[in-house]
C-alpha cells in the first residue's frame, strides 16, 4: 500500500516538475491563448450589453403586432359560436320543425305511391 502511494506521489511530483520548466515559446503561446480567451470575453460582453435593448424592443414589437393580428381577424371560435346561435333559432321555432316533419311525411307518401 505504501509502495502504491509512493508511486502515486512520485508520479504527481514528476508531473508537477514537468510543467515548471516549460520552454519560453510554449509559455509565450499559452499566454497568447489566455489573452485571446479573455479578449473573446471582452468582445462578448459589450455585444450582449449593446444588443439587449434592441432585442427587447424587437420582441415587444413582435408581441404587439402578433396580438393585433390575432384579435383583428375573426377566430374560428367566433364562427362556431355564430353557427350554434343559428341552430338555436331554428330549434326554438316550433312551426319550422312541424313543417319539416310534414315535408318528410309527404315525401314518404310519394315514395309509397310510386312503389305501389
Amino acid at each position: 500500500m505504501s509502495s502504491h502511494n509512493d508511486f502515486l506521489n512520485r508520479s504527481r511530483q514528476q508531473l508537477d516538475d514537468s510543467i515548471e520548466h516549460l520552454d519560453g515559446e510554449t509559455l509565450s503561446r499559452l499566454n497568447q491563448a489566455r489573452q485571446a480567451a479573455l479578449a473573446s470575453q471582452q468582445k462578448h460582453s459589450p455585444f450582449s450589453r449593446n444588443w439587449l435593448p434592441a432585442s427587447v424592443t424587437a420582441a415587444l414589437s413582435l408581441a404587439v403586432i402578433g396580438s393585433w393580428l390575432l384579435y383583428s381577424t375573426p377566430r374560428p371560435d367566433n364562427l362556431v359560436q355564430t353557427a350554434q346561435l343559428d341552430d338555436l333559432e331554428l330549434l326554438s321555432s316550433s312551426t319550422d320543425l312541424e313543417l319539416l316533419e310534414e315535408l318528410e311525411f309527404i315525401n314518404w307518401l310519394v315514395e309509397e305511391e310510386n312503389a305501389g
Partner: protein, 210 residues
C-alpha cells in the same frame, strides 16, 4: 444639506443608471481578473495533459486555447468554484473530439493509400527516441532533470480513457464523481480506467524507480 444632496443623488434615475452601469463594469472587470488568474493557474497543467493526449505541442496549444475560449464564452458568469471542473470537462471533451477527428482522417488516408505517421512519432526528437547504447535504464532517466519523461512516455502509451482517468484523479486530485463528470462517463468506468492505468504504469515504471 449633505444628507439632502445624497438623497437626491441616489434617487436620480439617471445617476442611479450610471451607478448601476459603473458597478456592472467593475463587476465585469473583477470577473475578468479572476478568470485571468484562474486560467494562468491552470494553463500549464492543461497544456501537459493535452500534449500527453495528442502527442503534439502545437495541437495541445490549440486544444488548450479552444477550451479556454469555450470556458470564457459560456461559463464566465458561473461561480469561480465551478470553473475548474467545467474547464476540465471542456478540455477532455475537446481531446476526445481531436481523437475522433484524427481517427477518421487516418482511416481516410489509409483508404487512399497513405499511411499517416503517429503524431507522437512524427514530432518526436530522433535523439530523444534513439536507443540508449550506454545501458542507461529508466531508473537513471527518472532521477535526473528529465525524470518525468519516462512517466510521460508511459502515459502517452496508455489508452486515452486510462490516461485521462489517471491524470484527473491523481494529478488534479479530482474525486471519482468529478472525474466522471469531466470524462463524461460513469463513476464505475472511472474506477476501472484508473485502476488499469495505475497497474499498467506501475508495471512499466515501478521496477525502475520505486
Amino acid at each position: 444639506m449633505i444628507a439632502i444632496t445624497t438623497t437626491y443623488t441616489l434617487n436620480s434615475p439617471y445617476q442611479l443608471g450610471q451607478h448601476h452601469q459603473s458597478s456592472q463594469e467593475t463587476s465585469a472587470l473583477q470577473n475578468q481578473q479572476a478568470m485571468n488568474r484562474f486560467l494562468s493557474g491552470i494553463e500549464r497543467q492543461a497544456f501537459r495533459m493535452a500534449e500527453i493526449a495528442s502527442g503534439s505541442r502545437d495541437d495541445a496549444l490549440d486544444l488548450v486555447q479552444d477550451a479556454m475560449i469555450s470556458l470564457v464564452k459560456s461559463y464566465a458568469h458561473k461561480p469561480e468554484a465551478e470553473w475548474g471542473p467545467l474547464f476540465h470537462r471542456i478540455l477532455q471533451s475537446k481531446i476526445r473530439d481531436y481523437y475522433r477527428r484524427n481517427s477518421v482522417r487516418n482511416k481516410l488516408l489509409g483508404w487512399l493509400g497513405f499511411h499517416p505517421k503517429d503524431p507522437q512519432e512524427e514530432n518526436a526528437d530522433p535523439i530523444q527516441t534513439a536507443a540508449d547504447t550506454q545501458g542507461k535504464g529508466p531508473q537513471d532517466i527518472l532521477i535526473n532533470d528529465d525524470s518525468g519523461k519516462a512517466l510521460q512516455d508511459a502515459l502517452k502509451a496508455l489508452p486515452l480513457r486510462q490516461q485521462q482517468a489517471f491524470l484527473l484523479r491523481n494529478w488534479q486530485a479530482m474525486s471519482v464523481a468529478e472525474t466522471a463528470h469531466a470524462m463524461g462517463c460513469s463513476e464505475g468506468s472511472v474506477k476501472t480506467h484508473y485502476s488499469r492505468a495505475v497497474h499498467q504504469l506501475r508495471t512499466q515504471l515501478e521496477e525502475h524507480h520505486l
